[in-house]
Amino acid sequence: MSKQYLTLHTLDGAHPSDIFALAPTKTQILSASGSSSIRIHDTTQTDFPLVQTLEGAHKLGIHHLATSKEGKTAASAGFEGVVKIWTLGEDALWSGKGDIVDQHNPGDIWAIAVSADGNYLASSSINGKVNVWSLAEKDTMPKIREYETKGSFGLCVDLSADGKFTASGHENGSVYIFNNDTGRLSHSLPGLVHPIRAVAFSPASKLLAAAGDSRIIALYDVTSGEQVANLTGHGGWVLSLDWSDTGEYLLSSSHDSKAKIWRIETKQCVATHSQGDRPLWAARWLPRATRSEMFALAGGNQAISFYREAAG
């Protein structure tokens, strides 16, 4: 059974460069690209106006951007190797809180994820290490967990909503789940052989989705580590994954400009959208407000497109 999603609005030229990351809050969407600035658009108004630009955040461009679920903390990672932490002020404007630079190997941090409460940041790295940093203190942002893997480039990372788990996906196809309470590896998941470019915990932290160059989206049970499903249908490398608030649907986007929506219950693809002819680097649901379910897509065409579920 398929579902209908309609194009709601497109922000053409949202960035002067390829958009690599989207990070929504309840009222805004933050976006980052190969240019140096982070742009913030208001998602509560019908024309999605630009409300703030964080100029010159990362001179060489920004490859990852993440926000906390509570919407007051954001983190950005630039090609120069620095991670910047941003906080939302009383005036509803974002400002810089500080930088995380890996003391040992500056520039090695790659993907990032921020915990739901904004107190932790997980990072993957080129040398395969997965780290967790505390953002809670006022002045320092210490590294509190350091997970060793077999050294394959960690292309993606996620933190579970309950803060208990960190997951990482690696270039050699490995997927790991770490237990943040014990600081140990929980599961080394049966891999997909090809590079893993996206991992995402379901909202209830029960399932982990992982995908990449094998074009298959694998679903794993977080507790047992068992692979419970394969979602097949993408024709290009899968670059981005995101669960809807309820965990009913999974959104994926790929290098061949396609986005797909999967119903988890039936493991079926219920909608496919094609956008332009450039890689779709980022696909994100907007946190559910009063309106129907909405998602945003962005990538090499430098635009952000918003879709909403068709009524009825």
Binding site: G34, G61, E171, P195, G233, D277
Partner: protein, 485 residues
């Protein structure tokens, strides 16, 4: 000893200049160097203690020539090492000759006066940070060049050796200028391979010397050894009536050095294609398509980073045929982009060649209209995969794709800071493609295009048609055969 340490020792300043240079220190030279150096220092280092100094120079018959230089030809001002400052001087062969003789004479004076130290002052070029883009789009050195002094006997055996190397090169250049013969850098090296140890030593000092005088290397009568190959339907006519036809050769011809009086006839050519690698060049020239492609196309490879002679040749073609489309085919990796950058904007290391373009307009070398044919990210990641055969697709497009090495990633990040690739710079597409490489952590060699139906030549042929379609027939000749009259 690793090669960096060796470079450091040779040149007394870090060799971590951005790696347009990498290609110069190529593997074979490195090997040679290890072989010579790993065991024990060569004999010339052992004999360079101060009391043996006169003996060293006396041993060398050419050194005696120094005595013959008279005072007459020398102007005091020429002894200063600031050729760029002061009133404009016409820098021609005689001027360079006089400067070199000035240098040599000072050394002779030093010997006659029994000075403890002999010195040659060189201007050395700085790394990327010291470069600025000029308005015409070429690189030029920032206004301050670093002076460095090479002393004899110096503090170390290495310094004494450096002085000896430099003096020998100066002498050879002087001889070439005095007799009006052109030497290649390779020629110089082979005069004293045991002294110079490796080719890049010669390359570096010849370029330093040109930089010190603020002239192009060709004004020193030194050329790079010909390494570029060209093929296609072109003709080079010399003033003496000789001519070279590109179409006659089945495998391409070694790029001849052009004289100012030579005329290159490209009237049958619609497109100039530059190819990074010799293997791909040969694949195209050896293909069945070449008979038709070659009649409309000039193909050149400089086998990696282009040397000066290749860039001069291409620049001469653009000056003669400014509207002729010119494209470059390089690997999809940071080095490929750096090679393209060297074709388009010139070499970081040889920025002084561009700066002198004010004096000699024909040597302004950037190729601002050079377009990037491939390999581009959209040509590698999107090999068609059917929805049904997803697994097969994954395997087929995994061929020819490789992961970036740590060095590739570092280089790509450094290149994002280049004035050409920075935000708001003239090459936003280069920036995008470098970032895409980093995001995907993938690179691809141009051999990946061989897997296209019909191979590389067929792909190039299609691209040529597309180019002709886009640009129209902007070149001189009449598009349709038969309408020429």
């Amino acid at each position: 000893m690793n090669s960096d340490a060796f470079e450091e020792m040779l040149f007394g300043f870090p060799s971590s200049q951005d790696s347009v240079d990498d290609a110069w220190e190529d593997a074979s030279e490195e090997d040679m160097l290890e072989a010579t150096f790993a065991s024990e220092p060569p004999p010339w280092i052992l004999r360079s203690s101060p009391d043996q100094l006169p003996a060293l120079l006396d041993d060398d018959p050419d050194a005696m020539i120094l005595e013959d230089f008279g005072e007459s030809a020398l102007d005091e001002s020429l002894l200063e090492n600031h050729p760029i400052e002061g009133p404009p001087i016409r820098k021609d062969r005689n001027w360079v000759l006089a400067r070199i003789e000035g240098m040599l004479e000072e050394i002779v004076d030093g010997l006659l006066e029994n000075r403890g130290q002999l010195a040659i002052t060189l201007k050395s070029r700085s790394a990327t940070a010291g470069q600025v883009m000029d308005s015409s789009g070429g690189r030029r050195p920032a206004s301050t060049l670093k002076n460095k002094e090479v002393n004899f006997p110096g503090r170390t055996a290495q310094e004494a050796w450096r002085f000896t190397v430099l003096l020998r090169i100066i002498e050879l250049v002087h001889g070439a200028l005095a007799n009006d013969v052109v030497l290649s850098k390779r020629d110089i090296y082979y005069r004293h391979p045991d002294l110079f140890v490796k080719q890049s030593v010669v390359d570096r000092y010849v370029d330093d010397l040109a930089c010190t005088f603020g002239v192009t290397r060709s004004l020193l009568n030194v050329t790079a050894a010909a390494k570029s190959l060209v093929a296609g339907n072109f003709t080079i006519r010399g003033a003496d009536g000789t001519s070279v036809h590109g179409i006659n050769s089945k495998e391409g011809i070694l790029l001849p050095s052009l004289l100012d009086s030579d005329v290159v006839d490209l009237s049958a050519i619609y497109w100039i294609l530059i190819i990074e690698k010799e293997a791909s060049f040969r694949s195209i020239v050896g293909s069945p398509e070449w008979s038709s492609l070659g009649s409309r196309c000039l193909v050149l490879t400089a086998k990696g980073y282009p040397d000066l002679s290749a860039r001069q040749f291409l620049r001469q073609l653009t000056d003669q045929y400014p509207s002729l489309p010119m494209s470059v085919l390089v690997d999809f990796d940071p080095d490929g982009l750096a090679i393209m950058s060297t074709y388009k904007y010139g070499s970081i290391r040889l920025a002084h060649e561009n700066v002198t373009s004010n004096d000699t307009p024909t040597l302004s070398l950037p190729l601002p209209r050079l377009s990037w044919l491939g390999v581009r990210s959209h040509q590698v990641g999107r090999t068609p995969a059917t929805e049904s055969g997803t697994k097969g697709g994954a395997i087929s497009d995994a061929q020819g794709l490789m992961r970036l090495t740590l060095r590739d990633r570092k280089k790509a990040c450094r290149m994002l800071e280049w004035d050409t690739c920075q935000e708001g710079g003239p090459e936003p597409v280069w920036r995008r493609e470098l970032q895409t490489m980093l995001m995907l952590n993938l690179k691809a060699e141009m051999q990946i295009l061989e897997e296209q139906p019909g191979g590389l030549a067929s792909w190039v042929n299609d691209e040529l048609r597309a180019t002709q379609g886009q640009e129209g027939c902007t070149n001189g000749p009449v598009p349709q055969a038969g309408s020429a009259g």
